[in-house]
Symmetry: C2
DNA sequence: TTGTACGCGTTATCAA
DNA sequence: TTGATAACGCGTACAA
């Protein structure tokens, strides 16, 4: 009671301020705000008016201290990646109107595990971890404290849910498509971290393994080139492929960003789809642009995001058994893949 | 003292747990964590070991309650917008290694004011509001409680800082370029909310006003068409332009996303840059792709993001006078703008 | 150098 | 239907 009338205009109004203004108890205000059971109409009205007058807003941090939050967190490993933004948009859209917020934790410069933990420290009500790294045990431990969906990987767990595309099926769609067009020298451009290792369950490794197996089955020699995530880097790698001996007649890029780099290299060398076919993965918006017209695989990013959000809501609703969701990839055949040149 | 030995494995360890484990006081642990003054080496060591053993992590929410946070928040009005992700990446990069985090609040479905307030409720240490809406007074009030940078608008204030591109200069670069190529029927495609009103200070309105003025000065008639933010919508609007009477020989799109829709429409109608020139704004990555090769304006999104982050740090460091930063736009002339067709 | 005690704003429990 | 009270985890005066 040192200073009940301090200029409350500067200090943002708290729940206690509202209670004082309305002449009721803090507990009552809290109930009104949360729409809890057991408040008279008169109470609701008076409190509402006080909130209005004081321009009061509940402090999320204080709520978080009590354990409950209405915010989900999503980690974003690459901000510029259109596929990921599609996923995030799907999740945000699914949560619209449910009373749940979303915050994004970019993990471009930190490890994506760090991003997950940063979200956890903020007491989010649930986490969507997009393509997190190689520490499934840690993820498993964290999932004891929060509902967690791992998106984009195939590391199954008893504790968290999983959303992914069927990368094996998708990669096979592409390779079969190219083989069907008569291509034999099909190169695969993938991220540097991907490995042809049956243990690996990240999307790019799965695509790589599937590609290599399909090639060998067809009696063709796999030809793998690696690059970093950027279009730049893919462009450089593609130039190496095109300028090297035994130039491939088709290049399967592990995602659309890489494919754009390949297309750039192809164009710069004065080649067209009649010379070198190009296929990508993700079906980002720009892929269907008639000037690019990229053949690619649609793995329904928006559906992934929607599903992940729904899974978190289900967990909050009491579900305890893990769920696994896999989208069915669809090949989008466009102009960048053509029959193999004869000879 | 009801249950000092409860299975702490499930409940995440708190600062008090660490203190107990290390046999010291909570205050001591707090000091060690923050690297505060006045801790012996032995203390630091013991506490460090206990933190390690218990896998302790400070709760951001609890810290926030005390008023201090090391997190900046950025609102993102459109997740798919490449220019915005460039800005965000710039900010994140600038904060790398400073000990400050970033969280993103998507405002796609809510008003962007709502996103700002959601960040404020989380007690972030500073906010970058990207292109917030028409309520500068409210923004001004909020800026009394947190360091705030308004990015992308030109609403100056005594309370918050501003980062923007020089939209007038940029728009003039484009229009002068097109006029210089001999174009007279230059249409402008802009967002529906933009208005030719000297009072308006949002980027799209500024570009629109500048365009219209430059056209009239040149004795040409402005022709303005509107669309929503999406490439889809821009595509439809462009088709209307191309199919209408008195087809323009050049289209100036207010940003690159819209320009992509225009390019699609142009391609679909069997036209090329020789028939209809197209220019955009932002210089997103894909614009320089040889298959698109879009003439556009680079307004240095990464520099904007970096500057905004730096401004927040400066505010935290004690600066109180507002700063205004404006990037110098540069025209990137590429293949989509050509001399006006004769006749 | 270390520890004690309190307060931040909210919600849940329980009593009135 | 309402209100008093006790946490939640952390940082910080202040005392030891």
């Amino acid at each position: 009671m040192t200073d009940g009338s301090r200029p409350a205009s500067l200090r943002a109004a708290t729940l206690a301020d509202v209670a004082r203004e309305a002449g009721v108890s803090p507990a009552a205000v809290s109930k009104v705000i949360r729409g809890a059971y057991g408040v008279s109409d008169g109470m609701r009205e008076r409190v509402g008016a006080a909130i209005e007058r004081l321009d009061y807003r509940p402090r999320t941090a204080a709520r978080a201290m009590r354990g409950t939050t209405t915010t989900f967190g999503i980690t974003v490993p690459q901000l510029g990646n259109e596929f990921l933004t599609t996923v995030v948009r799907g999740a945000v859209a699914a949560l619209d109107g449910t009373g749940f917020d979303v915050i994004l934790a970019p993990s471009e410069f930190a490890s994506s595990m760090h991003a997950v933990e940063s979200l956890l420290d903020r007491q989010v009500a649930g986490i969507v971890a997009i393509a997190p790294p190689s520490d499934p045990e840690r993820l498993d431990r964290l999932a004891r404290h929060v509902p967690l969906v791992q998106l984009g990987g195939h590391q199954y767990s008893e504790r968290f849910d999983t959303v992914a595309g069927d990368d094996r099926a998708g990669a096979r769609l592409v390779v079969d498509h190219l083989l069907g067009l008569g291509h034999r020298r099909i190169a695969h451009l993938t991220r540097a971290y991907a490995a042809e290792d049956e243990q690996r369950v990240d999307p790019h490794s799965l695509r790589l393994v599937t590609y290599a197996a399909a090639m060998r089955t067809a009696g063709a020699e796999p030809q793998v080139t690696q690059s970093e995530a950027s279009e730049e880097s893919a462009h450089a790698a593609a130039l190496r492929l095109l300028d090297g001996a035994d130039r491939p007649t088709a290049i399967f890029a592990a995602n659309d960003t890489l494919a754009l780099g390949v297309l750039r290299a192809v164009a710069e060398r004065g080649l067209t789809a009649a010379d070198v076919s190009v296929a990508g993965y993700d079906d980002i918006d720009i892929a269907r642009h008639p000037l690019l017209d990229l053949t690619t695989v649609d793995q329904r990013g928006d559906e992934m995001g929607r599903t992940a959000a729904t899974m978190l809501l289900e967990r909050l609703d009491g579900r305890t058994e893990p769920r696994r969701f896999c989208t069915d990839p669809r090949l989008r055949v466009r102009g960048t893949t053509r029959p193999a040149p004869v000879g």
